[in-house]
């Protein structure tokens, strides 16, 4: 008897954000103009990209510069699947429902293949540290692009046109919920702490029993899976799947968002992605001057606030949910005892 109760509790605990979020999204999507909707979806995709990259660059402290390559893998996989099932209805379901189911499967498949790509890229690269990792991941990004451009099955340089329009606010918003939930739960677990240890001092982490290479690869795979999700969402929005959407310039844009938000801060990544997407939209009037202002903004921000908008703090740390209890005159040097920590409330 209690087994089913446990199962129900588990189900509720793990899916709560979705149970709350999806109805809200559904409500919102019917009240929002299509122009605003597109901006919000674009912002959502950028949030998924930034938060997922933060797992590698921020939480684990590895310098990966090839995120767009994994986007591409997920994008092409999901596009091919939805195109294959364009005229088939799964399980004899009505077409509209079937379309959604196919889309879900396509996105999931995109995440899976992107994760595999993450593994293949990560395994050799993660032995190299620091800047070498950056250049190698950049290299893989470009290699993926060049391979796509030379493969007829993938539409080569022109790409695949006529991808079904499936992405809407609900899907994109659910993607955001998923990535943020993943990042939070990861950070508040022993696995997240292992990643932080790798960032802080890899030698010491290894000496304390952390399989540093294994964890770096895992972080890479999780991160690239969600990049694949973002890629799938993107191509089913713009209805086009070309390599030009996934160049190293895109990778650099995502890195910029992560650093601007603050390395290691999920809130920061969300905020930066939102701010940058919206301001780029708002500046659209200025056409060519838009990118110049964007680059000036980058430079000024780095010179004035190098640790990013949020540094390494999270929104949920700044709320006074627990009394700090250190005997030391901290002057703010107290580590947030975050409510992320499972069982944080069980204190004698």
């Amino acid at each position: 008897m209690s087994l089913t109760l446990d199962a129900i509790r588990l189900g509720a605990r793990s899916t709560l954000p979705f149970l709350l979020g999806v109805p809200l999204l559904w409500l919102a999507s019917s009240h929002v103009s299509s122009f605003v909707e597109i901006i919000l979806i674009t912002a959502a995709i950028n949030i998924v990209l930034a938060v997922s990259l933060n797992v590698v660059n921020g939480l684990t402290g590895q310098f990966s510069l090839g995120h767009a390559g994994f986007m591409a893998v997920g994008a092409y996989t999901s596009a091919k699947i939805t195109m294959a099932f364009r005229t088939t209805d799964i399980l004899a379901l009505p077409p509209t429902v079937s379309d959604q189911v196919v889309f879900l499967l396509a996105l999931a498949a995109g995440m899976a293949t992107a994760a595999v790509a993450g593994f293949l890229v990560g395994m050799p690269s993660l032995r190299l540290g620091g800047d070498y990792l950056a250049i190698v991941t950049l290299g893989f990004n470009e290699i993926i692009r060049v391979i796509i451009e030379n493969t007829a099955f993938l539409g080569q340089a022109t790409g695949i046109a006529g991808v079904a329009r499936r992405t809407n606010l609900i899907w994109a918003g659910t993607g955001v919920i998923a990535v943020v939930a993943m990042a939070r739960r990861l950070a508040g677990s022993t696995h997240g702490r292992a990643l932080l240890a790798i960032r802080e001092d890899e030698v010491a982490a290894e000496a304390m029993g952390v399989d540093t290479t294994g964890y770096k690869v895992r972080a890479f795979m999780i991160s690239s899976a969600f990049a694949g999700l973002a890629g799938g969402l993107l191509v089913h929005l713009i209805q086009l799947c070309t390599p030009r959407s996934f160049t190293f310039v895109k990778s650099i844009e995502v890195v910029t968002m992560v650093v601007l938000g603050g390395l290691g801060s999920v809130t920061g990544s969300v905020a930066a992605a939102l701010v940058l997407t919206i301001s780029l939209e708002a500046l659209r009037e200025l056409q060519q001057y838009r990118m110049v202002m964007y680059s000036l903004l980058l430079i000024v921000l780095m010179l004035t606030r190098p640790s990013g908008i949020f540094g390494s703090r999270e929104l949920w740390d700044m709320m006074p949910l627990r009394r700090r209890r250190s005997a030391l005159p901290d002057g703010g040097a107290s580590a947030p005892s975050s409510p992320l920590d499972a069982n944080a409330d069980e204190e004698p």
């Binding site: 793990s14 022993t190 932080l196 030698v203 250190s326 030391l328 499972a342 069982n343």
Partner: protein
């Protein structure tokens, strides 16, 4: 493989570490029985930390074998050797500076966690129990080392003496059979050192550990060790009880050239430094 009271928990057989043309360790033999407290001393550059690095897997021995509980661990990665029961502290503390004191110790408990990534994402009951267990265990170690009141402070905010104790707490939390302390008293004042001596003995007694200590402070290492191994230029020049080693002419000669032995210009190998 069970270790009887007589088979060594840590053994080094003819370990040689060669870096290019430099032989940092030559034919180094060492056997540590469970619960033994052994001091590893020698002038600067004698190869003591190199020995630690060979034991913990930072370097693979050029020649020779390292055995933990009778099992050969050459060439294994440091994290695997840690899981087999060897923990260490570092000469210059390598704490996770931007993390809290509690987190530093919790990370050391990580390798014994049972909940996988999927469980973490799903927040299963098993995962929550695991987290509670880790938290409780980490707090216990902090409490033993007198650091519990700082559990939420950033590691880099701690005073130096407390940082060194945190390093020890962290190493202990990995649940080792052998604890390797690399100059645990460096930078401490006299009263802190006395406390440390008591602490080391207590840890050995309460946790039934074998402890290997590198130290330059003669009074401390002689006071705490049951026996000593003396290295010079990568070679063992003496072994035995502190009294015997103190009087060994080869040891005196090795230190006469080193003005920093115990902190004076005379060979301060005795009780008064």
């Amino acid at each position: 493989m069970t270790s009887s009271a007589h088979s060594p928990v840590l053994e080094l057989r003819k370990v040689t570490m060669q870096f290019g043309g430099l032989k940092a360790l030559s034919d180094f033999d060492l056997a540590l029985a469970p619960g033994e407290l052994v001091g590893l001393i020698g002038p600067n550059g004698a190869g003591k930390t190199t020995a630690f690095n060979a034991i913990t897997g930072m370097y693979a021995p050029t020649q020779g074998d390292v055995l933990v509980d009778g099992e050969r661990v050459n060439g294994r990665r440091p994290f695997q050797i840690c899981r087999r029961g060897v923990a260490r502290t570092f000469q210059n503390t390598r704490l996770f500076k931007e993390l809290s004191v509690l987190d530093n110790v919790r990370i050391a408990c990580h390798h014994s966690s049972e909940a996988g990534l999927f469980a973490a994402f799903m927040r299963t009951r098993g995962f929550l129990d695991d987290e509670a267990r880790i938290r409780k265990r980490a707090r216990e170690y902090l409490s033993i080392l007198g650091l519990l009141q700082h559990q939420d402070s950033l590691a880099r905010g701690l005073p130096y003496g407390e940082q060194r104790r945190l390093e020890i707490a962290r190493a202990l939390a990995t649940g080792p059979k052998v604890l390797c302390l690399d100059e645990p008293a460096a930078g401490m004042n006299a009263s802190e050192k006395v406390e440390l001596m008591g602490l080391i003995r207590k840890i050995r007694d309460d946790f039934r550990l074998a402890i290997l200590v590198i130290e330059h402070d003669m009074r401390l290492v002689m006071g705490v060790s049951e026996r000593l191994v003396v290295l010079d230029h990568g070679v063992v020049i003496a072994r035995g009880t502190p009294d015997a080693v103190r009087r060994d002419p080869k040891v005196i000669e090795a230190y006469l050239g080193d003005p920093h032995a115990g902190g004076g210009t005379r060979p301060a190998l005795g009780g008064r430094g």
